[in-house]
Symmetry: C4
């Protein structure tokens, strides 16, 4: 099976998630700077989640770009990833409202850890079709960043019950780690692209 | 008429339905595990509906993949299917809030039965153009799963007035039946693909 | 300028409008048939608007299919159409809640009349590029249905102040008129398609 | 890297932003013209923001059309632009509710100024790949309109604390400036197109 609709559907869902995130930003009751100030935690939670979903979109984009064939198992692995990402607006809204409370901050980490695991599973189903997706398989041989992220998420969950700020600091750290673009895939793709110029008509 | 925009529009609507489902998950009032516990029925109803819409997307994807031409009647049959699927967030939210009440649980089954019938009608309009969509027609000769699902939905509706849990158990059963991928279409397509490699440039 | 992104953006907006329509369907407070009964006017308003947006999508699809080039003026004419269609969820929600009141029912007609005029303007900007879009220009030589619809909308607006039901009956009539597929464009396209088979690779 | 998914994702997000803008338009409580009258400031704020997002979509469309290659930096510059545009429904809703208050009106200007700067950054990352995107680089040599807009936004922010109406008048002025289509890019593209007819199969 090809990847056109697979990409289109994922893009659609990610675009909607990133946009309905902002629906959690309630229009302030008041009309002065104080009202805006009260929205600040929500706003910061929104910025963080926007960056996270953006990172997922970017990585998803790169991963699919290095893929030529998508199996039925990958369709479900992808829906599984999208399921956890669709929970992001929910936990973002909750954490934005109760950023001093342990459970909402821990819940944010749980969803992020689940999305991270779902991404790894998706990567696995895609690389299993080795003959088709060899470029991808080569690119992610050592998924160091992914492992570090998961460890940080899993640390942030219990840490939230000690200090919510320390926990949130870990989430910010993961986002910063990923904002550095994934050179491995870009490099592998550049090589792949040089080898297949002309054959790769679709972007 | 071709199928590019047909697929794109369906993908768009399904992507939005699957994502606005989560808007029914209200951010909890409290900030402890108890607040999260109260969200649990909503969350489970959300998971079930997410899987249902995912199944419809997967099957729709496979069905259209085996289709080469789309008639005007199919456009309306597709909108009819999307109409019933667009009711899913409504009945999910209602059932999530009142999972002990017969009417909301039965309403969920009504929408699912209507979507199931609408899918069969769409399949019918697509296979009627036999010369174009022969691969699809061969693949779904005996739509056993579809018939079983409809029987289970139609049983779940009156059953909700006896026991809502038994009714919900039937909905879960249908979801599990479909999570097993539809080998028939995949196999028929694989054969078709082998016969037309090169001609089938779009995924 | 080509039409790929033009279609994609229109599809996106129409898909979202058709789906957020359902967000106006509030989950009922109660849990019995009575609660569902109270939702009925909302539901019927939803069905009507769903069909309207579906008709616009179908016609837009056909019109663009018969178009090969899109000017800058058409981009804005299209946004103008999408603007009025984006008002549909608003007036649907209002009419659903106050179907006995003249102003909401008349407001529905105003938005529909504006969308109808916007569609005619868009058709005008597309056919002005005659050499590129000759197939479309031939197909819509006499836009009878469009004119009848506009007259019915404009009659329904003052009629709402006499009888809201008579006004709503006119809206239903227009929907029924359009549900009959537009044979003219389909026929002209079939002829065009036969003349250009092979050249028209994208649907 | 190609631009297909880049455009599709941007279109998706912009389509959703333009459509969820209308969700800020609350269905009026009453059922007479007075209720509609109270919605008027919201409606006008909605019209203004709809035009702004439409302008961004149009310009984004033209800019990408003149682009052949998209770097990793551009992906993030684009997400940065989409971030600020995703704030538009929030500030539109706030300004619509409190159009006499300085802070909401100034906040609208801040988001618009940020989006304007983000657009300039995106333009910069795209033109940096000069050999690929030369047509674009030529087209925007002197981005006069962009600079004027930014100056007007930055003037409108402090002006809101003197007179909100003067500030809003500046926002309307910027919208009018941009509604005049950008002849520069269209002309440069027309030249480019003539030089590459046949090679430029995708719109």
């Amino acid at each position: 099976m090809g990847k056109g609709r697979f990409e289109a559907f994922s893009d659609g869902v990610l675009a909607i998630i990133i946009t309905i995130l902002v629906l959690e930003l309630k229009v302030p009751e008041g009309e002065d700077l104080h009202a805006l100030h009260e929205t600040l935690p929500h706003f910061l939670a929104y910025v963080l989640s926007f960056i996270y979903v953006g990172i997922y979109w970017n990585n998803h984009h790169h991963m699919l770009h290095a893929t030529t064939r998508v199996s039925g198992a990958s369709l479900w692995a992808n829906l599984h990833l999208l399921f956890w990402l669709s929970m992001v607006p929910f936990v973002t809204g909750w954490m934005g409202e109760h950023h001093h409370a342990a459970v909402p901050v821990a819940a944010y980490g749980c969803v992020m850890a689940a999305a991270s695991i779902a991404y790894t599973i998706l990567q696995g189903t895609l690389t299993r079709q080795r003959d088709h997706n060899a470029a991808l398989a080569r690119a992610i041989q050592r998924d160091g960043k992914g492992k570090v992220s998961l460890v940080l998420y899993l640390s942030a969950i219990p840490l939230a019950f000690v200090s919510t700020w320390a926990s949130i600091a870990l989430y910010v750290t993961v986002a910063l780690i990923w904002l550095v673009p994934d050179k491995r895939i870009e490099r592998a793709l550049a090589e792949h692209h040089e080898a297949t110029v002309g054959a790769d008509s679709h972007p």
